[in-house]
């Protein structure tokens, strides 16, 4: 048996939870009943996997057999809206006796959830609800910021279990515009593609300079202007930027200075400071910095990575 095939089978089997292993191996129908009986499924998973690989080798498993096992194991998401809603509601109601949960489905495969929180002893507060938008069959949900800290873990748990995922992670991305958050998270903010049918060739760019100007006037630094324009276009693209209001950087770094013997440079502890950029449309503002001459092109990657890294809250420490 090929080493790559062995590795492939090993990784596929490792992904299967132990309680489903026998069912899946039976469905695979590659190892015989006798062979499966020799395996002790109660030992540690690694040992079980080792034994199974050994049996596969004995039977000379091919790449096709491995691929078949892969298909059987594929974790297909059969999202059932009714099941999700019931499950979600049950989890919250079991934990907090007093909670109001309502759902509204929209056309875009999104379900809006409104949760009014109470406690074991108090009625739900209808004036401070949390809103969650869950996009079914994707691993993302968007939550409004009006949640008391103590309710957040419970909300996370309800979402995770109801959507049949394994864990939930908070992303450092916040904005007032749900559409922009969606565009960034689903990586759909650049939807212009080069095709053979596109009417305007993408190579043409207007320099933004006044072409109809008097021909007696020339730009002395036209080369530099063109360079800046090109770099800006490469970094930010031709498309409208998603709308964010803030970018926040928490720095915990040591002070770096060219001068020797500077007091700050001698500090052992890192400096802590918070830098916050705010704007009605932050990404468009950043895009216009270099062409306006306010900053050098290319801009710092810390600023340009925001849509790519899907975060606008950063913690920066010395490596």
């Amino acid at each position: 048996m090929d080493e790559t095939v062995a590795e492939f089978i090993k990784r596929t089997i490792l992904k299967i939870p132990l309680n489903e292993l026998t069912t899946i191996l039976k469905a695979w129908d590659f190892l015989s009943e006798n062979q499966l009986q020799t395996v002790n499924f109660r030992q540690r998973k690694e040992s079980v996997v080792q034994h199974l690989i050994h049996l596969c080798e004995e039977k000379r498993a091919s790449l096709n057999d491995a691929a078949l096992l892969d298909i059987i194991c594929e974790d297909v998401d059969l999202f059932d809206m009714k099941q999700f809603k019931n499950s979600f509601k049950k989890i919250l109601q079991r934990a907090l006796k007093n909670v109001t949960v309502s759902f509204r489905e929209t056309e875009e495969n999104a379900v809006w959830i409104r949760i009014a929180w109470g406690t074991q002893y108090t009625k739900p507060n209808q004036y401070k609800p949390t809103y969650v938008v869950y996009y079914s069959q994707t691993p993302y949900a968007f939550k409004s910021s009006s949640t008391l800290r103590r309710n957040t873990p419970l909300l996370g748990q309800a979402l995770t279990v109801a959507s049949k995922h394994h864990q939930i992670v908070k992303m450092d991305l916040r904005s007032r515009y749900l559409d922009s958050l969606k565009a960034i998270v689903f990586k759909q903010y650049n939807q212009t593609f080069e095709t053979h049918n596109s009417a305007t060739p993408l190579q043409e760019r207007s320099l933004g300079l006044d072409i109809n100007m008097d021909s007696r006037i020339t730009h002395e630094n036209i080369v530099e202007k063109e360079r800046v324009q090109r770099i800006t276009q490469e970094t930010f693209g031709d498309y409208p930027q998603p709308q964010l209001e803030f970018a926040q950087y928490k720095l915990e770094t040591k002070f770096k200075s060219d001068l020797n013997g500077s007091i700050l440079a001698e500090r052992e502890e890192p400096l802590r400071c918070l830098i916050k950029f705010s704007s009605p449309h932050l990404l468009e503002a950043l895009k216009s910095l270099a062409p306006a001459g306010i900053a050098d092109a290319p801009l710092s990657p810390l600023l340009t990575c925001i849509p790519n890294k899907r975060k606008n809250y950063f913690k920066i420490r010395d490596k």
Partner: protein
């Protein structure tokens, strides 16, 4: 000449000198003449050449004039130019049409400055459906710059498996998923739009269109009990369901004919596309109606 006539040398030498002097001066008086003659000869030559030049210039002017007159009077030259332009335009249109036709192959691409932009055109049963794009950057490692694949298609998983090692497999796998999704979506859309009369409730569907449930009646407005169908498509690369459950909403024990129908419906949903099953229901209904009346 003072001096005694020395015999021999002196006088004769002197005479020779005088003779030479005379012949030199004669020569000098002769040269301007030859020079003049030469000048005269050259002068005539120059004049001849000037005449020749003027004649040639006149001839050129004349030729040009006649050519222009030709063009003005006769069209054939213009027509040749126009034909060339038309031929070029036709060629351009042909090339554009060929490039557009690539859409029908289902998988096409265009080179970009960074790499290639792949276009996947999905189709089902001969109907051209949605197109999806994947813009690849050719670097080590190969990466996806941006794409228009819907969020619920496991693009990242497929890329993790195949993008770096076997790009063909990556593209074909992605094509499989997208075509299957398009096909399932098409069937669900057709059911909702064309056979709404046979449905007794809204069609429940999820984003991947791999779990559909609906209730339907064979004779809308009739007395029969509606059927409940639940279609599970566990294989995301297929357009037919893997599990079908059909139940009768009556809640009562089914008569044997109803049971037969229920079982046959289950088989139908497993083997034929959804909208075709309903088309056969509609046809049967028409047949029954015509028989009755």
């Amino acid at each position: 000449m003072a001096g005694i006539l020395a015999p021999g040398l002196g006088v004769l030498a002197h005479l020779e000198r005088l003779e030479n002097q005379m012949s030199r001066s004669r020569k000098q008086s002769e040269e301007p003449q030859s020079v003049q003659a030469q000048e005269r000869v050259l002068g005539t030559k120059i004049q001849k050449l000037r005449h020749l030049r003027d004649d040639l210039k006149a001839a050129v002017r004349h030729r040009r004039g006649s050519v222009k007159a030709c063009i003005a009077n006769v069209e054939p030259n213009q027509i040749v130019e126009v034909n060339e332009q038309e031929a070029l335009e036709e060629k351009l249109e042909n090339v554009k049409a060929v490039l557009q036709a690539y859409h029908f192959t289902g998988l096409s691409g265009k080179l970009t400055s960074r790499g290639v932009c792949v276009c996947i055109n999905t189709a089902f049963e001969g109907n051209l459906l949605d197109s999806y794009f994947v813009d690849l950057v050719i670097q080590k490692p190969l990466r996806i710059h941006h794409h228009s694949v819907p969020v619920f298609i496991p693009l990242e998983e497929i890329a993790a498996k195949y993008l770096q090692t076997n790009i063909q497999h990556f593209l074909f796998s992605l094509c499989e998923y997208l075509n299957a999704y398009s096909g399932r979506k098409y069937q669900a859309d057709r059911l909702q739009s064309d056979f709404a009369a046979l449905l007794t409730g809204p069609l429940q569907r999820n984003p991947l269109c791999n779990l559909l449930s609906f209730t339907y009646k064979l004779d809308p407005g009739g007395q029969s009990f509606p059927f409940c169908a639940r279609l599970l498509y566990k294989d995301l690369t297929a357009t037919l369901p893997t599990d079908v459950t059909v139940t009768c909403q009556g809640g009562e024990a089914l008569s044997s004919s109803w049971e037969e129908q229920r079982a046959s419906h289950e088989t139908l949903f497993c083997t034929k596309p959804l909208h075709q099953v309903f088309a056969s229901f509609a046809r049967r209904e028409k047949l029954d109606m015509s028989l009755v009346s």
